[in-house]
Symmetry: C2
Subunit: 209 residues, 2 copies
DNA sequence: TGCCAATTGGACCGTACGGTCCTAATGTCA
DNA sequence: TGACATTAGGACCGTACGGTCCAATTGGCA
């Protein structure tokens, strides 16, 4: 069902959309990048540009789930430690493109949230699944956390800080922006620990750097 | 030099760009919204769509500087208190559009950072001026702050968290996302105070809510 | 062998876009 | 009165876009 060609098109489109956005990526661009013979070849696999966009978004999320969110579920590692590792993974993922690419979700969100309800809803779902993973982890870590920690709020804060950081990194073309924010974010999370380490001396509960 | 018409066009364009993004806003759309008679009327005032975009960005920043950043410089208020008030102002600004509009800088950044160097540079400058205001405030507040507070890093963190929060709010169409993050952000800032209030019990130095 | 998906290649269409050019009317201030 | 910015209206142009249609070929598999 999932032919090689389809994946090839999806990957090419993902790269282009990450570079220029969805609107500024034309079907002809995708055809050229995926080395298809022409329009009919493309429309043999996708019924519209919109559908292509949806599937690209799906694949981006799957990739992110495998390479990023999976860390949040590692059963052998302390939950709060896992959260730190996850943040490191986001930094590493960005480092691959030199911080020039930004978040595929954040980019699409900013570009299409108001203009295109179909994308808005799908991106909302992405953020919700992401937040839900963090909430589960926080629930698991609750013996180590202060009683009044608001998991919903904290999970949103983490996502917002990371998305904002990735955006700023892209604008400034400087990966150290993201790295600095990652450090602060870990400290903020550590501040919610029951023992309060990280809150008083600025160091997180578990290893930083 | 700055005619009424020009401002009228700039305001109409700002609204459209905030709603649909720069690329998806056509010159004809602007002409209709600003009630101009035709293309020649528009091109009488602006030499290109690009120049219009630059001037809209300038005006958005001026507006933000007057209604937001100005708070950071209020001489009669305690600096850290001012930072909290500033965050409240960002929330209030978003509330005006029901959180549907997002940040004019973040939106343009995500849409054009890679595609259009001219915009990227200008948005970078916006973030830099914003960060610089926060750094000044932090410097002013240094007697109340812990010695090892990194003003550059903290100022970037604040901006990233706010930009990310505004983006998420827009995607979820729920202002309470931003409100929650604002609370956490204030707590994080309070955590840098010398007395450590806010770090141990989750309350900032100065009034929250 | 025959079927069917995959591929190739290109013509074509309607629309939208940024931008130019030209002419003429209207208002305003010196 | 004259000079000049403003307003008005429209024709026009080249290009790009998403999408359709058609005809022909290739290749694997039952």
């Amino acid at each position: 069902m999932i032919s090689d060609r389809r994946l090839q098109i999806l990957d090419a489109a993902a790269t282009l959309i990450a570079e220029r956005g969805f609107t500024s990526t034309s079907v002809d661009d995708v055809i050229k990048a995926a080395k298809l013979s022409g329009k009919s070849h493309f429309y043999h696999y996708f019924k519209s540009k919109e559908e292509l966009g949806y599937e690209v978004l799906n694949r981006q999320f799957e990739r992110f789930a495998e390479r990023g969110l999976a860390i949040l579920r590692e059963p052998m590692i302390d939950p709060l430690e896992r959260l730190n590792l996850f943040i490191d993974a986001v930094v590493a993922l960005q480092a691959e493109s030199g911080g020039r690419r930004g978040s595929p979700f954040g980019n699409l969100a900013a570009e299409l949230a108001d203009a295109h309800e179909g994308f808005r809803v799908r991106i909302e779902a992405v953020f919700e699944r992401w937040a839900s993973q963090i909430r589960s982890l926080l629930w698991e870590a609750r013996p180590q956390l202060q009683d009044d920690v608001d998991a919903v709020r904290l999970s949103r804060f983490i996502i917002a800080a990371l998305e904002g950081a990735v955006l700023m990194t892209r604008v400034k073309r400087d990966l150290s922006v993201l790295e600095g924010i990652a450090i602060d974010l870990k400290r903020f999370i550590g501040m919610h620990a029951r023992d309060g380490i990280g809150a008083t001396n600025g160091r997180p509960v578990v290893g930083v750097e």
